[in-house]
Structures are given as C-alpha cells and as structure tokens.
C-alpha cells in the first residue's frame, strides 16, 4: 500500500460524513444548480474530493470544507455546461427540471407533512402568495398585480410565511 493511500481518510469516516451531511449538501447543490442531474454530479465529485483530500482537513471544519468543495464543484459544473445561470435558474425553478418526484426524493416525508401542516396554519392571504410564488412560479410583480396589492405587501406575506414554514421545519429532529 502506498504512502498516499495510507494517508487518505478512513472510508468509514467518508460514509459517516455522507450520512450526516449528504441531504443538506444535495439540497444546497440543487439550490445552486437548479438541476438534479448536475447537482448529483457535483455531489459525487464532492465526495470523491473528500476521499482524496479529506485527510488534509481538520475534523471540526469538515462540514464547511464539504460545502466549499460542493460550491466549487457546482460552479465548475456550470462553467462546463456553459449554461447561463439566469437561464438555468428559470428552467430549474420551473417544473421541467425539478419535478414533484425529484422534490419528493430530496425532502423527507416528515418534512412534507410538516410543511403541509404549516401551510394549513397560515392565513389565507399568505397561503395564496406561497402557492402563487412557489407552486405556480409567478413573480412577485405578477402576484402583486393579480391580487391588486402593493409589491411590498406580496413580499411581506411571502417572507412572513417563510419564517413560519421554517420555524415549523425546525421542529423536526
């Protein structure tokens, strides 16, 4: 066995890090790339890097290191694909790239149940904005125009709703 191989991080540690931060990293990459396939590639590349260079990192800073590598891999994937970020985002935010099944895979059933419950607890006007913005993919300008409310009001409702949704999700273990 070579010296380099001996220095590499323990596979069990890689597995443990994958189990611990895998979901979070995947979500981060999907958020950056808005493309499940690209995110998957970047995710894989991140853990390959961890296996190769993980021994150079300190244990307490490994989470940050993983996210930084994931970010770099995502940017690299973007450049490789030569896709304009804004165009990609438009596609990814729409239903073509990220379908309900992919989203369901990305989040746990418990999370979905909590979000459903949180949405049911929202006031109707906030529910409406959440639906129009996230589910129907309308911009805030369009939402404000359709509802006949100021843009700031639409933004405010969405922001308040998000805070409540996040608070609900924080309850899960």
């Amino acid at each position: 066995m070579s010296a380099a191989a001996e220095e590499r991080i323990d596979p069990a540690t890689v597995a443990a890090l994958h189990a611990r931060y895998g979901e979070e990293l995947q979500r981060f990459l999907v958020g950056l790339l808005r493309d499940h396939q690209l995110a998957k590639d970047a995710f894989q590349a991140t853990f390959v890097k961890l296996a190769e260079r993980g021994h150079e990192t300190r244990e307490e800073s490994r989470k940050g290191w993983l996210f930084r590598v994931a970010y770099n891999e995502a940017m690299l994937a973007r450049r490789r694909q030569a896709i304009d970020g804004a165009a990609l985002r438009r596609v990814a935010w729409g239903r073509k790239s990220v379908g309900p099944s992919a989203e369901t895979q990305l989040v746990r059933k418990e999370t979905i149940a909590l979000v459903r419950q949180a949405i049911q607890e929202l006031p109707p006007e906030q529910q409406q904005v959440v639906r129009m913005r996230i589910y129907e993919d309308k911009t805030f300008a369009v939402i404000a125009a359709e509802l006949g409310i100021p843009l700031g009001t639409a933004l405010g409702r969405m922001r308040t709703a998000l805070i409540k949704l996040r608070a609900k999700l924080e309850q899960q273990p």
Partner: protein, 194 residues
Amino acid sequence: MNVTPREDLDWLAFRYLAAELSPAESLHFESRLEHDQQAREAVGRLVETTCAVRSLDWDVASRVMPVRRSRPWYRRRAAQVVTGLAVGLMVALLVWGPDRARQQREPEGRFAKVPPAVELAVVWSHVRTELNTQRVEEAAGWRWLASAEGETDAADSTDEEDAPDAPDWIVSAVVAMESQEEAQRTPAANIEGI
C-alpha cells in the same frame, strides 16, 4: 463577522433561489456562498422548504384547506358581545316582557275568569253535595254517642258550618256565575214588568 440575522439570510437565499435578486445582488450572494457557511446552509434550508411546498398536491390541498377569512380579534369579540346582548335581551323580554307586565297589572279577579266560572261552580256544588251526604251517612252510626255526651247533634248543624272551606278561585267563580245569572234575569223581569 456576519451579523445578518438568520431570517434575513433565509429571505436572501429564497430570493436568490427564486431569481428575485438583481444580477448584481445575485453575483454578490454567490461570492458570499464561496466562503460563508451560514449562507450555504440557508440555501440548503430554503431548497428543502421550497421543494416540500412544491411537492404538495395543491389541488387537493386547496379542497382540504378552504380559504377562511379570519377576522381580527376585536371583531370576533364585538360579535360575541352583540350576540350575548341579543340573547340577554330575549331572555329579559321573556321574563319581564309586555305580556308578563300586562298580566301583573291585571287585577286578580280577572284571572278568576280564565276558568269557565259556571262549570267550576257546578262541579263544586256537586262535590259539596256528595261530601255532605257522605258525612250524614257516617254520622248516623255515631249519633247515639253524640246524644249521650249531650253535644250538639251533627244533624242540627247547618250545611254552611259543616261544609269545607271553598278555595278563593271557587268563590270567585261562583260570584261570577251569580252575577251573570242576575244580569240575565234582570232584563226578563223588565220584560215581565212591561
């Protein structure tokens, strides 16, 4: 040191994900993601949230979640107060309402008119006769004793003395009946007089 509150950061991440940031803001946030772990985690959180929201079946959800107009607390409280007052007013009307007040103003004699006076009088007369007959029959077996003691014979006493006390409503009914009969008799007498 990053002093941005977590909610602000989440909101920024959401706007970034929703492409609601200007190109300059978007680039700035991406450069921040390069070194800011909190910003990265915020992106991860918001992806989780938006994906969960989008994975819901909103068509079903909209049936499950009817849009309810929630009224502010002061309107709900006002509605409760008005309802309470209305109920209280209804109860007050039932207890002390005009009918009751009118009834209280009525003289007691008029209450006596409520049962048919003539019928009551007939019933009472019949009961009274029966009672007296029964007493006479019972007393017949004990008359020897009464005589021996030198007491007043029950047969010597008048009916009025032996009769049980009539209740007020019976007295009123009888009085009413008598006055009615008298009123009927008077015109006849006048006719005879003619």
